[in-house]
Symmetry: C2
Subunit: 350 residues, 2 copies
């Protein structure tokens, strides 16, 4: 009988953060593609677009005028999925099938730059530091609102990720409950911490740094790697080397290093297919429920959809929705490919 070769044989890998498996089919990356191609959005965007509702000085849908901001700019989402209003509600504890609860929250938009055409990899690291400071302030302010127990910072980049405006921006949805994926993660982080008195990610990245097979880029305070259990072809995770549970615990040196690794990782992404690389990213960190959460270890997920080129993405569809996530290229292969990308952006040799 043939011995198991993780680089060749179909297998499943276990994700200890959410207690789920992923199917890996290394041999399948050779199949031809005859399906849908994505449109590549032109790279030639103006620095200012008079029709963009995020550019400085422009009018938004609700009639408000954006200030002439110079770095980042935060405002309440004009079409928020959550509302701040308190709603009276009594839960019926006996209900099995029709359980619903009102949810309070605040949704904000964070413009990363006044320049309509300047995405993270093309910004100077100092400008990214400024975004990190904005995230810190928002995490604090929103977390201090009495009914807010979780602050989700995220970015949808590219039209293929549902982003309707190329102006560089992210979002923050802060709410009273822990969202499903966060609660799953917290349960697993807590179970590990209760046994080992160390965070799961602290031990995990130590192992990864020893193996040095899935690391994409690192510096003194952060490491960016393709997790062993990644589901998206070029999925990565940035983890702080020091065990900090939230973004507001960063020292100023850590803010600087986080900015640098964000710039390097997103530059490598853009260089991979010489395109403005689409992804959804998001920070997972301690809830703001007033409890101590020593089990939480700051990390940021990047879920990019592209698989083979700027126009061919991975579809997470029938089998993946009914069964489990599936990938072709191995995480080790993806990490190697990303690692060898230049840290200099393809559009810019400075």
């Amino acid at each position: 009988m043939k011995n198991f070769d993780i680089n060749e044989d179909p297998h499943r890998r276990y994700n200890p953060l959410i207690n789920e498996w992923v199917l890996v089919s290394p041999h399948r990356s050779k199949r031809p593609w005859q399906g849908q191609n994505e449109t590549v959005t032109s790279d030639a965007l103006p620095e200012y677009d008079p029709t963009c509702y995020l550019c400085p000085g422009n009018v938004r849908a609700n009639g408000m005028v954006n200030p002439d901001y110079e770095s980042s700019f935060v405002f309440e989402n004009d079409f928020a999925a959550l509302k701040q209003e308190e709603i009276a509600f009594e839960e019926n504890k006996n209900e099995t099938f029709f359980r619903a609860k009102p949810e309070r929250g605040i949704s904000r938009v964070v413009c990363f730059s006044p320049k309509h055409n300047l995405t993270l990899p093309e910004m100077p690291a100092e400008a990214i530091e400024n975004i990190i400071h904005t995230w810190q302030k928002e995490y604090t302010d929103l977390g201090n609102v009495d009914y807010i127990n979780h602050v989700q910072i995220f970015e949808n980049k590219g039209s293929v990720m549902g982003c309707s405006n190329p102006h560089p921006h992210g979002q923050i949805w802060a709410q009273s409950s822990l969202p499903t994926e966060v609660e799953k993660t917290q349960n697993n982080l807590k179970a590990y911490f209760d046994i080992h008195n160390k965070t799961l990610l602290e031990d995990y990245i130590k192992e990864e740094m020893k193996l040095d097979e899935r690391i994409v880029v690192e510096n003194d305070h952060f490491v960016a790697l393709v997790p062993f259990w990644a589901i998206w072809p070029y999925e990565t995770m940035i983890v702080s080397k020091r065990n900090v549970s939230k973004i507001t615990d960063f020292t100023e040196t850590e803010v600087t290093d986080f900015a640098i690794i964000l710039k390097q990782l997103t530059t490598k992404y853009d260089n991979l297919f010489e395109t403005s690389f689409p992804y959804s990213s998001g920070i997972h960190q301690s809830p703001t429920d007033g409890e101590l959460h020593p089990e939480w270890h700051f990390h940021m997920h990047f879920y990019p959809p592209l698989l083979r080129s700027a126009t061919v993405k991975k579809f997470m569809v029938g089998y993946e929705m009914m069964g489990e996530s599936q990938r072709d290229i191995t995480p080790e292969k993806s990490a190697a490919v990303l690692r060898e990308q230049s840290n200099v952006h393809y559009k810019n040799n400075s």
Copy 2:
């Protein structure tokens, strides 16, 4: 304080099948859309396409020639995600972070019709019965393979769902492990059955039929409804009224009624935006591990991506990936909209 109005106020709903929540934002369906539009594939396909690798008599990528089949036709996937080969492997029980196991399986393609342009809603119900018989045969044959413990029957329809060929077809991935989503569902079904000695879905559809708010269409043996906890805008589930755990338990009358409800549901889908409605569908039923599974109750999920029109889909991205699934239109509203669609296909008045 305002009282909770499920039709107006942001809330979360609980999915007892997988023990996860979904965020519902009813007020948000009014927001304008400036993002990506999908391309509508032309409806004018020929009945036979000489370049299609699924049409009768044509040659596939691996050189095999398709027979001149007259109803359905099944073959092994030429680019299978799973392999049948047995792989030697010893698990290290102490491994926490790098858990991987070889996975054996068989992937098949099921052509629904020799006609290149005939999707489910446009087929006569008798032709759909034939597909159901094929699914029964495959479930039995694959389930009988000693190392196969789960048979996942599914369909990806439309290029937006990663389908690379419009020729009507589905797939079957049969494998040795229970996939993640199936295992989650099984755990919750079993916990319910152990307490109530009835299946969760038996009790659930009884309540739904009493309320009659989310039912899309039903007949003597099946009901199609928008689940209370649906995540996709027009997500539905077909559930057998009799508590059967697998497709091979259907009586012939049930096969007929299942074919009829499949035709009606997919016809309503096509009529909604007068387009060949994309979706991923899949059957959840008893594993084939040789155990009795009284907790399983046959059901089929439909996850369609479209939201507002034939070209605007719902994006499950940043917040949804990091936090939890989110929807705008309520399940009750979607069910009402689907229910009022005609059972006669828009392209065909016969």
